[in-house]
Amino acid sequence: MKRALVLAAMLALAVAGCGGDDDARGASADATRLVVSAASSMTEALESCAPGFEEAENADVRLSFAGSDELAAQIRQGAPVDAYAAANTRLPEELYDEDLLTKPVEFATNEFVLAAPADSQIDSVEDVAEEGTKVVVGSESVPIGSYTRESLAKLPPAQETAILANVVSNEPDVKGIVGKLTQGAGDAGFVYVTDVNATGGDLKAIDLPAELEPQVTYGAGVPTAAREPELGQSFVDGLTSGPCADALAEAGFGSAP
């Protein structure tokens, strides 16, 4: 009988223990938890400014990086997210139309570039169309993948076909593309200039002709199901002005149009 009670108590403790990791990152015990879902391309910038935000707002910021589309799907499935920052404006607008997000704001722009290992011979779109070049792109559902297809569609059809035929992998987010290039597995890929900057010289960014460059604008909003809507809103506001906006600028993002 006593043993049964002990066993039950242990079970209860185990269950209660699941939620007890608040202090793991040094946030003070009464800090409010803020869950931020952001596009992979902002990883370095937001990680560098999150501690400042935590201190200023007495918050415990949980950053979750993935492809913007995966994050949007999580919000649709009811994930408790307080701020959503995507690598395009289409996904936040879609969530807004579905009443799942507040009116999105445009907070940054990025430059769509061709990337290749720093010592690579590749330095133009023509080189990428050469037969046998291993090209890594984003899958169609992730913003970088749709920007890539949008951009390639502006090329002469033969060149577009040649490049698409060279695609060896459709990665679920930009980190996957960059990883394949820095590992020397892929010869070239289409990413944002900020991703190239973040590799610290391992990759080089090759500017595309202006007519090929899609307008890359980042949008953010607060999910209507947010647990901390006010704090979420101040994080989103901070993307346009404040330490996080500065961190984005430092990483190579442009300011919103």
Partner: protein
């Protein structure tokens, strides 16, 4: 003591609900018509076919190389044996992402053996062969571990008897050890098949994701998760069905053997 029995029953109920509810939800959330329609799209069939092919090849490799290796480890004792077993079991507890990084570091284009692999004319990254390597790496410990246990539990009297009757060790291995250990070997195979079919992280990181070449069912599910949730559900349902069929067939084989008195007590 009745309270204790109650506690036991409650624990079982909690366990059962927790483990089956998500799987039941996959089927409740997708109608059979939806399932058939989603499978009709070429990408889904490509992914299924690729998964079955790569799993079959890697299981063949695992059985062919792993069975004699497991036999050796089960029947000989030598210095460093425990260390070898531990090293073989290590991938079992490795996170898939670590497996992916490890494979890149070893046989990726800029890995320590990358140059020799390339000069041998073998392409692994972005190639189906790379998927097979990833599956074999993560799945083989599941089989070998089980196979060692299966061989070790065979009564040595049987093998000794075959030797006294003039059979060579290789003959004893093929004609005595393997048949007697078969239920255990089958269980190990099933675990390895399950792990190989479900492999995700190592494949994505090491081999990439391309329809028909490297995009296995789990990668196809992830690719559809954001834009076509129904299609992702349908593919998941198929994977559950295939995995359940494998598990069931092994249980049947083992049950059949046990009933006909094949198992050595």
């Amino acid at each position: 003591m009745r309270r204790f029995a109650l506690l036991l029953a409650l624990s079982l109920a909690v366990t059962l609900t927790f483990l089956t509810l998500p799987i039941v939800a996959i089927f409740l959330d997708s109608s059979p018509a939806e399932l058939v329609r989603s499978l009709g799209e070429p990408g889904a069939l490509d992914a299924l076919w690729l998964s079955l092919r790569t799993t079959a090849i890697s299981i063949a490799i695992i059985l062919l190389v792993g069975t004699p290796a497991a036999y050796l480890l089960a029947t000989r004792s030598f210095r460093g044996r425990a260390l070898i077993v531990t090293l073989i079991e290590l991938p079992l507890v490795l996170p898939p992402a670590v497996a992916g990084i490890a494979l890149l570091a070893a046989v990726g284009p800029s890995g320590i053996l990358g140059g020799s692999v390339e000069s041998a004319g073998i392409q692994l990254t972005f190639a189906t062969a790379g998927v097979v390597v990833a599956l074999t790496f993560v799945a083989s410990p599941f089989y070998i571990r089980q196979a060692i246990a299966a061989f070790a539990s065979v009564d040595r009297v049987l093998l000794d008897a075959s030797r006294t009757l003039g059979a060579s060790e290789s003959r004893g291995f093929l004609r005595v050890m393997i048949p007697v250990a078969l239920p255990g070997l089958a269980a190990g195979t099933a675990l390895a098949v399950g792990r190989a079919l479900g492999e995700f992280g190592a494949t994505l990181m090491f081999a990439g994701s391309f329809e028909g070449i490297t995009q296995t069912v789990p990668l196809a599910i992830y690719d559809r998760f954001s834009t076509e949730f129904d299609a992702a559900l349908a593919l998941s349902a198929v994977l559950v069905a295939v995995s359940a069929a494998i598990l069931l067939s092994v249980k049947l084989v083992q049950g059949g053997r046990a009933l006909s008195g094949w198992q050595v007590e």
